[in-house]
Amino acid sequence: MGNSAQHTLDAQALRAEFPILTSPRADARELHYLDSAATSQKPRRVLDAMDAYYRETNANVHRGVYEMAAEATARFEAGRDAVARLVNHPREATVFTKNATEAINLVAWAWGARELGEGDEVLVTLMEHHSNIVPWQIVAGITGATVRFCPVTPGGDLDLDAMRDMIGPRTRMVAVVHVSNTLGTINPVEEIVAMAHAAGALTMVDATQSVPHMPVDAAAIGSDFLAFTGHKMCGPTGIGVLAAAPERLEAMEPFLGGGEMISDVTTEGSSWNEIPWKFEAGTPPIAEAVGLGAAVEFLEQVGMENIRAHEMEVARQMLDALDEVPGLTVHGPGDIGRRGASVSFTLDGVHPHDIGQFLDTRGVCVRAGHHCTKPLMRHIGVQSTARASAYLYTTEDDILALRDALVACRDWFGAA
């Protein structure tokens, strides 16, 4: 199957950096972790960076005069520098949130709850994650705006013609996922952003599944807002990122109020700190930013181009392997140039939950369910799918284990 001469990344060697992939497991099963779209595993250096932060220089940031607090602040802000550099975005417009979901809600509340009104439209797509649907529904419910859904073609792509028709003078926001966590589809976000901007609408790109897996250039995409999350890109839980156009952040009222985000507080009212801190109320995820900074350095060292090349190879291996399993249907594009390495599938006669459970007994971890994309599930006419998703540490061995386990699973459940 594979021919690793096509890319320069040695997944087998990289696995050595991930303790969970190399330590012997209690049940002695080998771990074939194919659920990186849900959350990635963490390289040792990320864990070590957080541990060192707590052991060497833990202190609250931004205000402490003593050296340990200054060092804590420096490590925290270096995390921001790293993240900003990775996506080619100005650091002062790179806001830390708790996850991608909060980043999107920040915009929905701080911008949408104040700016939207009766008759205004927010255009999302049928392949959005709930995190890029529900915030808009909530804010639309408060403001009287409407949320509309751009359809998806039978091949698993966004219907750009329909989108063009749907974007109009009432469209105030176009919110679109860069890479679908369910179908794997890569959407032409530059084109969509241009379309939206031409109509005077703002844009939110949910880059949660692209930033970890391929070079993402926020400046080239040109969206007003771009959201992603630390735990899917080798970083810790508890941290997400909103990369926004600086002028939008300047113009927006703050979202969460409290410490850190103020310039002055009086009994009559308050004034705000400079961006990005204006949007970071309370003690930020300090150790998490340190960990995310280490994750970014790791990704940069491996090379985002190399990760993308590796995952194209893995996606091809995966599609080929799944093709060998009788009765299996893949949901999503077949062209690896237009897709990531998250592959959703169903198996005739075996429910995704049963697939997930059976595969687990062979050390193969896949996700089963609606993947937080229920409107998409309804659209493609299934209640749930199984999903195998890869990352830089995924090897052909993992793919073969997946294939063999699926064949055995079919037999076990006696599918026709």
Binding site: H351, P352, H353, D354, H370, M377, Q383
Partner: protein, 149 residues
């Protein structure tokens, strides 16, 4: 395959492959439609109540082996019971699924085979879907009767 056999006992696979009590009831006394938020699976449950007893019970909808087998076993275990008896049965099953009651084989019938599911928290929801639907269905029925509907 030890863990697998534990969870997927033969009895479960048998009920999964040959579902008992599947379908809908024309002119049911009460019906509910519930779904599992984790996977989107649906369950339609109908009961026909005669003289305070479940004269007929049917479950429909697609789902995983656990949810289908549980629905199948439910229809067998609940068939013919008085409503309060049926509620006790459901409660006993619920406690067993949460590891809070030792299973009573006489009461549960084949459904005792689902005991092993308790160790799999995500699957507990699958097993409970149809059983809790019966609880809701009886409540609906009683309310309808009470309000003279």
């Amino acid at each position: 395959m030890g863990a697998l056999d534990d969870l997927y006992q033969q009895l479960i696979l048998d009920h999964y492959r040959n579902r008992r009590g599947r379908g809908r009831i024309d002119g049911a006394s009460a019906s509910v439609h519930e779904h599992n938020p984790v996977c989107g699976d649906e369950c339609f449950l109908d009961i026909l109540v005669v003289d305070g007893r479940i004269a007929e019970i049917r479950a429909d909808g697609d789902g995983c082996s656990i949810s289908q087998a549980a629905a199948s076993m439910l229809t067998e275990a609940a068939q013919g019971r008085e409503l309060d008896e049926a509620l006790d049965l459901v409660e006993h099953f619920r406690l067993m699924m949460h590891g809070e009651a030792a299973p009573d084989e006489e009461l549960l019938g084949d459904a005792i085979a689902l005991e092993g599911v308790a160790k799999y928290p995500v699957r507990v929801k699958c097993a409970l879907l149809s059983w809790l639907a019966l609880r809701d269905c009886i409540a609906d029925y009683r309310e309808t009767v009470a309000t003279g509907g």
